[in-house]
Symmetry: C2
Subunit: 251 residues, 2 copies
Amino acid sequence: MILTIANQKGGVGKTTTAINLAAAFAKKGKKTLLLDLDPQSNSSLTFLDTHTLQKTVFDVLTEPSVNFRDIIRHTSVLHLDIAPSKISLAKLESNLVGEFDAPFRLKDKLDAVRTEYDFVVVDTPPTLGLITVNALVACTHLLIPIQSSYFALEGTDDLLETVERVKARPNPDLKVLGVLITLHDKRTVLAKDIYKQIKSVFGPKVFKTVISKNVRLEESPAYKEAIFSFAPHSTGALEYFKLSDEVLDRV
Amino acid sequence: MILTIANQKGGVGKTTTAINLAAAFAKKGKKTLLLDLDPQSNSSLTFLDTHTLQKTVFDVLTEPSVNFRDIIRHTSVLHLDIAPSKISLAKLESNLVGEFDAPFRLKDKLDAVRTEYDFVVVDTPPTLGLITVNALVACTHLLIPIQSSYFALEGTDDLLETVERVKARPNPDLKVLGVLITLHDKRTVLAKDIYKQIKSVFGPKVFKTVISKNVRLEESPAYKEAIFSFAPHSTGALEYFKLSDEVLDRV
Ligand SMILES: Nc1ncnc2c1ncn2[C@@H]1O[C@H](COP(=O)(O)OP(=O)(O)OP(=O)(O)O)[C@@H](O)[C@H]1O
Ligand SMILES: Nc1ncnc2c1ncn2[C@@H]1O[C@H](COP(=O)(O)OP(=O)(O)OP(=O)(O)O)[C@@H](O)[C@H]1O
Ligand SMILES: [Mg+2]
Ligand SMILES: [Mg+2]
């Protein structure tokens, strides 16, 4: 299973979901690869020092001689590997202008390692450009994190339109695995209202698990850890573990 | 003064700052234009229904015959106009590939209306691509909102590198007006730690005004209002008004 975490709205918990869902799969003994496709490299920063990296995802996608095996590293979490990025990935779009296979670069290169993992979890940047299109073409499933806030709801039409375009030709098997409500604050009326609106728009696609606002989730990357080792009994750890159960049920 | 609000990290309060700072200038009687350069069009959504729009910023930047005067609209706030966008702006980069004047499109088109306004406030998307470069080339000053969280601090190197490249040739007069700490939660240790780190990195550039987390700021766009009419006595209104005083002091 190759699971892309995408939403072009910024700051809705894509990276936080990618890190902790990947770590939850690893905790269940599943061999998991966290693939960082965001030039901001927040997922990579959580597990390593990106300044020391020589080759990264950018090189794999632009140089024929560089493969994922050359850049994949183990993390501090058993069964969890990472394919890291750094800011150079921001040049991908201008680098691949005019290349007719540009949307397929990730899919083609991922073929060499995908059988070695039970799960590949892909973190994406807050845009709908070539990088995110590569993730949508290469993946089998899509998980859409949506913050329960006004702006976050408005942007989903554009994302779903992009998904339909990808399903029409480059990746007909792409499935929307589900919509995850994140950064949810049960105390505010706005969050409750938006939650109802998201349910009425997406229906059964919405995961039963809701990720509530929890400062431990914000802190754990600063200590180079996923939530399960940093604060194993926090609400964040329980909720992301429950989410991993729900994801396994849906596959 | 043309003030760009930029940070490629997502969800750090760029739009919330652009809307409410522009509204604060208007409240002081300054003629202000809010220029939405984000394809997600969150600033535009706050004041109008973007589905009804014919021509938008995308048309101004790609068609010689369309000018800002053709798309600028009044908002419900006295002295505040808006130049709206919609998702079509996401095609700007692929539309202007190979055009040697691509980074200057906004600067050139803005020349026709800039004298009609005391302030132009530019909202940008969470990327460092051609759209944000256009904003950095066209503006006189840059305001960088930074959320007091781990990931937000890591990304500022890349933004400052882009700013130096813009200052080297296309816009030597570009000044970093200041760094604004947003979404600050005084109660958490992490936020206090990050605040100290931001101060040690940016020194006097950091505004004294800190914008704290305040649900009224999250709610007001859902009611098509800036904070000053939606919740005039909220912390968010007081803080953004104080920020507008500090900005005027620095210019
Ligand atoms: N459930 C949560 N509770 C508290 N803080 C959270 C939660 N989820 C995410 N955060 C924090 O909110 C901010 C945004 O989250 P994150 O960086 O994961 O979003 P993103 O969608 O990956 O952002 P970008 O669009 O920049 O890639 C981060 O500072 C993160 O630590
Ligand atoms: N001070 C604040 N208190 C509470 N909520 C806030 C505050 N500032 C912003 N928000 C909320 O946080 C979310 C992110 O803010 P906003 O959309 O302004 O960020 P942005 O940087 O413009 O995001 P993007 O990168 O997607 O353009 C929004 O839901 C907004 O309502
Ligand atoms: Mg992210
Ligand atoms: Mg915004």
